[in-house]
Symmetry: C2
Amino acid sequence: MNTVRVSLAERSYDIVITSGDLAGIGPFAAARVRGRRALLISDNHLAADRPIVSRSLELAGFVTESAVLPAGEAQKCLGVASSLYDRLVDWRSDRQTLVVALGGGVIGDLAGFVAATFNRGLPLLMVPTSLLAMVDSSVGGKVGVNHPRGKNLIGAFHQPAGVWIDTAFLDSLPDREYRSGLAEVVKYGVILDADFLAFLEVNSAKVLAREPATVRHIVTRCCELKARVVEQDEREETGVRAVLNYGHTFAHAFETVGGYGAWLHGEAVAAGMACASRLAERLRPDWGRGHAASGRSAADVRSADGAAALAD
Amino acid sequence: MNTVRVSLAERSYDIVITSGDLAGIGPFAAARVRGRRALLISDNHLAADRPIVSRSLELAGFVTESAVLPAGEAQKCLGVASSLYDRLVDWRSDRQTLVVALGGGVIGDLAGFVAATFNRGLPLLMVPTSLLAMVDSSVGGKVGVNHPRGKNLIGAFHQPAGVWIDTAFLDSLPDREYRSGLAEVVKYGVILDADFLAFLEVNSAKVLAREPATVRHIVTRCCELKARVVEQDEREETGVRAVLNYGHTFAHAFETVGGYGAWLHGEAVAAGMACASRLAERLRPDWGRGHAASGRSAADVRSADGAAALAD
């Protein structure tokens, strides 16, 4: 089990990275929140895991309630958020009621938005089940829903009370989704850690085979890197956090032109990073002669292309 | 012109209390935000003032757009918030677009919620036009909308970039609304400042006559007192901020039983404070023998009843 601390003064929290230990969720939650009521929000893909999480919370003293949504991006909207507010009202929730988000990025963003806005803020526990959610959306406090006029248009910054990452969820992830998540993993190497990028290249077979120790290592490293960025620029105000958007300008274009759903987000990010690095080489041809710029060399940029291919 | 500073680290801001100076809004806003686009949200009661505010913003370099809503509590809902998101999208707003809330508590809470949640947070300028909004809802960052199942159920903490209070708005306020607002003014005296409560009793004729210097003084003092509380407990976590809810438990009961709209909020708070103080005397009869409890004496509690009568 690895633990990564996100240090944000009174909003600090721990990210645990473990494998095959859903029973640990209850004690982890109980040590971090005052209340003993938990609304577990998940989707119908998680029918097998939901009772294990509920049971763990109950053994730790929580009274639990479960909201199960259809899977898919269409749930991430104000209307579904409103129905979750209804559930919280029906259940006579107060400001101590814990919201547990068990699922991928859609569940995390939606449940996080509900937690951010119900009664001006409920404690939130993130239990991400996709690689993308583990290394990206569950860490850093960005929550939100889509608006008919724009993706993630309505949202807030709401840091969780804790993040529990169980890499065993990845065992059953479809290969296309797993590879899509790897694009964000590669991104951390490109933007922040050349050694990590080299590790991914050298160990690409183990990574693609989802070798447990390797997966725990890469998820942990991504969380560490993201935590350090979020600590410097929690609300995306100083520009530091913008580095996490590497490749995302092209990616959003591909997603918009292709239609959301045609591309998985990570697929668009992989292609976006390749485009961004090639554009950078054209704009700054001196990088090709071995000069470092912004702390990264042309070798790094070319590695990025190669590594992005991992996720192709 | 008086200025009250609310010190909340990087979320600090100024409250200006002035009389008959809407032209000052533009320079005040320009000094506090980076962007130069402003969406002015107000209701149809403010048809005379809206162009003055817009013009002031434009003279200070802002491009402005206006959203005018029907007056009334019914506007404070997710559906209207969603239509305001549409306006912001239509207008190609970005994270620098300023939201200006020109109106009473409904406009402030609604526009504040939209500012809190659009693109994960836009800068917000509060221009409260009712006494209740000036001394209570425009200061401290509580924003939100009603849900069919509960008042203010959906919300956030989102501190404004600044608050511009022009007491000239009070000249045209219906007497019932003005007196309702005085209940919250009296509340500050009861909970935090016995001298201020004495001032209100001694000067009740000037207060009720809306004598400009007196009104500026009481609004300024209330903002100062609220600012000190919010500084200690921004997100209502430590219990300090709960003191602002004095009389509100009874008040909510009166509003719920009477039906929202039958009682103005301040009327319910005035009656609620009277009930709370009498309950306190029964629960702690030693207060009646001159012993101080929680820093307040029986004399203060009795004054509270007398002062609350101001707002009856």
